[in-house]
């Protein structure tokens, strides 16, 4: 799983049925120190994250089918948790409760 920040939302009406009523978020993967790690990507949120939140995001073939109990779902990344704190050594680096 990757650490990422939710940076925006995507509005999409014309999509495959597996995406119906799912929240499409734009996410920026982060390193544990808070710096950007690679390019923005998209993820489906099902835990209630919003723009600005630090989250964990992951992908595995077939994962979305299991989580959403669908037969077929062409969904790569899922947001499966909202991160309160990331601690490296004894220093809290990023997280929604880190200022």
């Amino acid at each position: 799983m990757k650490i990422a920040r939710v940076v925006g939302t995507i509005i999409s009406t014309d999509k495959l049925p597996a995406f119906n009523s799912r929240k499409l978020m734009l996410v920026q993967p982060l390193n544990p120190d808070g710096s950007k790690a690679g390019r923005e990507t998209m993820a489906i949120d099902y835990v209630g994250a919003g723009p600005g939140d630090i989250v964990m995001m992951g992908a595995a073939p077939g994962l979305a089918e299991l989580v959403f109990q669908l037969d077929r779902a062409p969904i790569n990344e899922l947001i499966m948790g909202i991160i309160d704190t990331v601690t490296i050594g004894d220093k809290a680096t990023i997280g929604n409760s880190v200022r």
Binding site: G8, I10, I11, D14, L26, E65, A73, I75
Partner: protein, 94 residues
């Protein structure tokens, strides 16, 4: 999944029958400011998108589920939706 822009078509007459007659598109992955990144790739386009439209693509084994007909299809990238709008806070723009 990545944002992408449809920039072209691929015509391939001789192809794996499991692919079916669906359109193949060339898509260029972009970020939220429409700046391209990485190579342009071939994607299965079962949604019949037009050139110039902004879409999102699924990659790897999951993209196979975007094939409307076959359970198994030799696809590793597919267009799965069209983007109407992108909302990004100014402080989070790359």
């Amino acid at each position: 999944m990545d944002l992408a822009r449809v920039i072209g078509n691929v015509v391939a007459t001789q192809r794996d029958p499991a692919l079916g007659g669906y359109r193949l598109a060339i898509v260029q992955p972009v970020d939220s400011q429409m700046v391209p990144f990485g190579p342009a790739i071939v994607a299965l386009d079962a949604m019949n998108r037009n050139i110039g439209e902004t879409v999102y693509i699924a990659r790897s084994g999951d993209a196979m589920s975007a094939h409307p007909g076959n359970w198994y299809a030799p696809v590793d990238c597919a267009i799965v939706g069209m983007v109407d709008s992108i909302g990004v806070r100014p402080e989070h723009r790359p």
